[in-house]
Amino acid sequence: MTALLEAGGLAVGYGGPPVLTDVSFRLEPGERIAVLGPNGGGKTTLFRALLGELGPSTGTLSVSGRCASVPQTERSRLDFPVSALDVALMGTIPGRPWWRRPSRADRAAARAALARVDLADRAERTYGELSGGQRQRVLIARALVQDAGVLLLDEPFTGLDATSAARLEALLAELAGEGRGVLIATHDLEQARRWDRVLCVNGRQVAFGEPDEVLTPEALAATYGGAIVTLPPTHPDPTAPHRVILPPHHHHHGPAR
């Protein structure tokens, strides 16, 4: 089976010395890969390289099919005068020449994508008035409209309540079940444990493999610089110790480097 993504010894940067090195991993169809790493550790840089915005400074990167990014919803303007359908329609822009307006087929594709993420009845609602989980699913619909084989999600669970998070996780499982590849930047180790592969980055690739192999205290310490604490076994699973990462999310909104 051909991999959707394959990186070998990949290094990427912004003209100066590379900010992320030694990246070697494969994404097969149907796989979900958790991308773990501290803020500034190179997750965003990796995504930008996969999207083709940054060329590899060394190493190889092969992408079969189309990658689409699903950014954090706070990065988009919530006061924008757009409906959910308008946002999904933005996904049709790459598919047509610059002088062409959205066609009837484009609109149908956008509506179908919204129905796919279970938001058909919210198509005409103003994007900023939707809940965080609904906004995230609209952005996924926008990626589906682009007919993307690979979805790159930037901390999609941030700020979602438990119900919305469960719903989003089920949707990601379905999308993977259709043969898509999904890369999910996250800080949640318990979540990463449930997916197919884990990729740890901190300026370089620290580890890549199945969750059980990768999520060791040593690899996590190397990934997060030792800022891990083990909480008493109370939540969410009373039988297992719950490891969390400190400090929690610091979202920088400038151009991430």
């Binding site: 757009v82 946002v87 103003t126």
Partner: protein, 274 residues
């Protein structure tokens, strides 16, 4: 009551204003949506020394104004697009420099100080057919560009980082938007002048923004509002023998203040209808 509108120069001013309402209603929404209000104001100010130069050297005034405004809009737009901190400071500096250069050129080089006031505040009741043609052409260009590029301007403003990934990578649509801002700034100069350009280009769109949640209805509402403010402004200016550009600006500002105050005082009502 309506006798001012029987005067030929008032009728011409009215035609000019209705054309500018189409221009400002359409372009103004993009200016407000993409955060270009201050660059638009400064582009109009930058056109001022260009107009004085053209006047003094004897070539077409709109050409001089457009050249200066375009140079400025592209330079500032590029800096803003790279999100360089301090580009608004630079905009303010250029704005002041452009005004100072225009005044010095007008009073000490070309000795055309008499026209400075009309260049800065407009001379709506003394416009010529050339001004009307420029307004019509600019309005048509803006409408056509909105029809073709509106979806890209919207996507690029919605989330710039994802817009790159969406394949809206070409800087061309955004550059064209800046060109249109310069064109719009020059087109409104004869009506409201370099210093009051935003009374047409920004204030009506900012007012209707307060109750609009889709682009096209917002633009239609802005065209109607700008036309109404302009018409009332011309009528009032003739009645009171006041400068029409400033009258329109005052009306536009007052309407914005009233609508904003209404929104602030009745948040519950707007939530219920949202």
């Amino acid at each position: 009551m309506l006798e001012p509108f029987q005067l030929p120069f008032v009728q011409r001013a009215l035609v000019e204003l209705l054309l500018l309402a189409v221009l400002a209603g359409t372009l103004g929404c993009w200016i407000v949506l993409r955060g270009l209000a201050f660059p638009a104001h400064a582009a109009a100010a930058a056109a001022f020394p260009g107009l004085v130069l053209a006047d003094g050297l004897g070539f077409a005034a709109p050409l001089g104004g457009f050249g200066a405004a375009l140079l400025f809009a592209l330079a500032v737009g590029r800096l803003a697009a790279r999100e360089r901190s301090g580009h608004d400071t630079l905009t303010a500096l250029v704005l002041v420099a452009a005004l100072a250069a225009g005044i010095v050129l007008a009073s000490d080089v070309f000795h055309s100080a008499a026209s400075v006031e009309s260049l800065l505040f407009g001379s709506l009741l003394a416009i010529g057919p050339g001004d009307v043609r420029l307004a019509a052409a600019a309005a048509l260009v803006v409408l056509a560009a909105t029809w073709v590029l509106g979806a890209r301007w919207l996507a690029a403003g919605f989330d710039p980082s994802a817009a790159r990934a969406l394949g809206v990578r070409s800087p061309l649509p955004d550059t064209l938007l800046l060109v249109l801002v310069a064109l719009g700034a020059v087109a409104v100069l004869s009506a409201v002048g370099a210093l009051l350009a935003t009374a047409l280009l920004v204030v009506p769109a900012a007012t209707t923004r307060l109750f609009s949640d889709r682009v096209v209805p917002w633009q239609l509402a802005t065209v109607v509002l700008a036309a109404a403010e302009g018409t009332f402004g011309v009528w009032l200016a003739v009645k009171l023998n006041a400068p029409p550009g400033a009258t329109i600006a005052v009306i536009a500002g007052a309407v914005f203040a009233l609508v904003a105050a209404g929104r602030a005082l009745a948040p519950r009502a707007t939530e219920a209808t949202a």
